[in-house]
């Protein structure tokens, strides 16, 4: 399944909408879209995952990289809209407390 990624700009914030499965085959595309966003001019980067039904460790690893980039460049890095299955993967890896995860209706 291909991955659709759309980046929206809202003042100093960027919202990254992701639709599809984030796997070893598609996570490089997500990484390529995310990495340029982490600059000191950007306040917050939100990755919206409502449209993601499946995510494997390569997807998680890409988001861990995002977390590392955000610490280096001083951005807030937020994940939102996690489905129960995607959230479960974060919980299995015990990463749900490390990321800034907001609910769909937050």
């Amino acid at each position: 399944m291909s991955l659709k990624i759309k980046v929206n700009s809202e003042h100093q914030n960027r919202v990254v909408e992701v639709v599809g499965d984030v796997t070893i085959m598609t996570s490089p595309d997500l990484r390529a879209e995310l990495k340029p966003l982490f600059t000191s001019e950007i306040a917050q980067i939100e990755v919206k995952l409502e449209g993601v039904g499946f995510m494997d460790s390569s997807g998680i690893a890409t988001l861990v990289e995002g977390l590392q980039w955000s610490k280096s460049s001083g951005n807030r890095f937020v994940l939102s809209g996690l489905s129960p299955t995607v959230r479960d993967v974060f919980e299995l890896a015990k990463l749900d407390t490390i990321f800034d995860i907001v609910d769909n209706n937050a």
Partner: protein
């Protein structure tokens, strides 16, 4: 019991996932349990493909079977994978990253094995003379495996 003989390419992953799905046909797994099953198969296949065969392809044999439900009222699905990659003698290479260290120092490596260990009751690796054997056991409550 289901047996497949796959060439270790990424497309083979779909066949492996289909095998896991077939093994659970008629079984009432919830969405999260089913996702964990597919996730673990995906992760192990990707590790064999990437680290065992260096992304160059290779053969993988796999089989899945339900073990008889035990007195503890749990049923177990056993999935065995066998590759013909160089045998792994260093068991540390078959271990996931320690989740406790992730809290202070999140790293991108070793997450696949961590997920496999976390989502299975048993995850065993056995080096063979000409490859590796991987045994996965998933635990389900008996009521969860009745159609």
């Amino acid at each position: 019991m289901i047996r497949l003989h796959l060439h270790g390419c990424k497309e083979g992953l779909q066949a492996l996932q289909a095998m896991a799905d077939e093994a659970c046909e008629g079984v009432c797994l919830d969405e999260i349990q089913h996702n964990r099953l597919i996730l673990v198969v995906d992760e192990l296949f990707a590790n064999i493909h990437e680290h065992g065969y260096n992304n160059a392809g290779g053969d993988i044999e796999c089989e899945a079977q339900w073990l008889p439900c035990a007195e503890d009222m749990h049923c177990r699905l056993e999935i065995m994978l066998r590759d013909f990659a160089p045998p792994i003698q260093d068991v540390s290479k078959c271990k996931g990253v320690n989740p406790e260290t992730l809290k202070d120092n999140p790293v991108a490596g070793g997450l696949g094995m961590l997920l496999i260990e976390a989502a299975t009751e048993t995850f065993e690796h056995t080096p063979l003379a000409d490859g590796n054997q991987w045994r996965l056991v998933f635990l389900f409550k008996q009521k969860e495996v009745q159609a």
